[in-house]
Symmetry: C2
Subunit: 291 residues, 2 copies
């Protein structure tokens, strides 16, 4: 299926939170027709009032499922799984489904197994977000400069994957790429979940609110993500438990090595780690241009 | 002594690196006369050519020490100590000395003991820097929005401390405050040294340069300071060893608690840490206005 760029292409968003709302905003601007299913009436009303959706409902209506060209699930992982279990059979053959879920192995295969034949679900992870949730905080500017990752399995078709990549580009992501569910989860455990674990641990390490006064940029940088939505992130951590634990262990080994070098006054050992760190971090600047 | 704001007030900078050069730039703009002692001829020449100093020498000349209203030491800690040991006696009574050293307990008392009677050294720590060193990279914009901490002991006079605070304000720091050497070192171990340890450990945790492609803002934020000048920082770590080890231990305890919560699927324990983290981090926004 190709993504036809016109008002007759209906994109249905299930879940009008921060990401669902941001998708709606981006797609409306591109001229698509956007519908939404969202259990909270006030979120539907807000989105209608703001003009970021064309139709909205709080109930799972068959006319919505059957009229959509693509359906995007922007739900918590366990809510997404429950939703598919309850309503997945209602999609007509030829329907295209995708999502925004931040963990993949624990979700993708189970969803694909539950769907009827002829319904294709291509998993995707838009690597964008804010520290606050809700459609009221949605903003499609969060996609600019960000990565969009398509996470297909061997059940997916070439056309389905291409359509999902096209959606990422239409949303305004800087970079659209493809990973397996396992590679995705390993990457996300390291780059995103571990960093959130570190930021949270740093803030929990002691009550230093008296030090707020002296806080410089480095501490602010490290803890910017320490404001975290605990419902969502605790679920994401548990749904990617093994990959996350393995990355936490890797980090701890490096931290312990540095601690030992300080304790034993092994200055050369410290300097060696600092040189490695500097060299690796420099690669980032070359890639993205950002420091 | 008061800091007279005119061209007859000579500020002597010993060590024209990144910080020394940035001091020189800021003070020249304010109309002071700036002299420098710097062992590298090319750095002296660069500063003269750029017009950021009025006079410079590579040798420790008595006329410089005697003509200065204030002398600022911008040297590595051990170089500063060696310098005072060798030349400290040459300062005339009434001389005012200060510095930029990032650790205090291991430096301040030793310097004060070595100086002749009538020479006052008021320690200070400008909490500003860049990931690159050298006078060629100096830039007084790094002081804007940053903290300047005066670190007096009971050997200091009220006038000396006030003069040092005035210097911080003249340099353009957003905030000038006062701490004891012990409090300063504890604060710096937590807010600055621990964060650098974490960033370095994260970069050393494994060779994920293949992941550069997927790197989002959170990973970039956490590792921005992972490019680090290893000579300087390994010295700072060792000169603040006990305070740093104690902060590393606190962090490790929190990180271990979070790891245990993930491993045992203690979702409530994870959420509790995340709520605490979010609440504490929010205080920062209230203070500085910066996220």
């Amino acid at each position: 299926m190709k993504l036809n760029k016109n008002a007759e292409t209906v994109i249905l968003i299930v879940g009008l939170g921060l990401l669902g709302g941001s998708y709606a905003r981006a797609l409306k601007k591109k001229g698509y027709t956007v519908w939404a299913i969202e259990k909270k009436q006030e979120s539907v009303q807000y989105a209608l009032d703001e003009g970021i959706i064309d139709r909205g409902t709080t109930r799972v209506e068959n006319s919505f499922l059957k009229g959509a060209s693509i359906t995007v699930f922007a739900l918590y992982p366990h809510v997404f799984l429950d939703w598919i279990r309850e309503h997945g059979e209602k999609f007509p053959a030829g329907a295209i489904l995708t999502d925004v879920t931040g963990v993949k192995s624990a979700v993708v295969h189970r969803v694909q197994e539950m769907l009827p034949a002829g319904v294709e679900y291509i998993a995707a992870h838009p690597m964008a977000g804010r520290e606050v949730g809700g459609v009221e905080n949605s903003d499609d500017a969060i996609f600019r400069g960000a990565n969009y990752i398509v996470v297909p399995t061997d059940r997916n078709t070439h056309e389905g994957v291409e359509c999902c990549k096209e959606l990422g580009r239409e949303l305004g992501f800087a970079d659209v790429s493809v990973l397996t569910p396992e590679k995705h989860d390993e990457m996300i455990a390291f780059l995103s979940q571990l960093t959130h674990c570190i930021a949270v641990s740093l803030m929990c390490a002691g009550d230093d609110t008296g030090l707020v006064h002296y806080t410089g940029d480095s501490f602010r940088d490290l803890t910017r993500i320490a404001k975290i939505q605990e419902e969502l992130w605790s679920e994401l951590f548990l749904m990617n438990k093994e990959a996350l634990l393995s990355q936490m262990e890797r980090f701890r080994e490096a931290f312990d090595a540095l601690e030992k070098a300080v304790r034993t006054e092994d200055r050369e050992g410290m300097k060696e780690m600092m040189r490695l760190s500097t060299a690796r971090r420099s690669l980032f600047d070359q890639k993205g241009g950002q420091a």
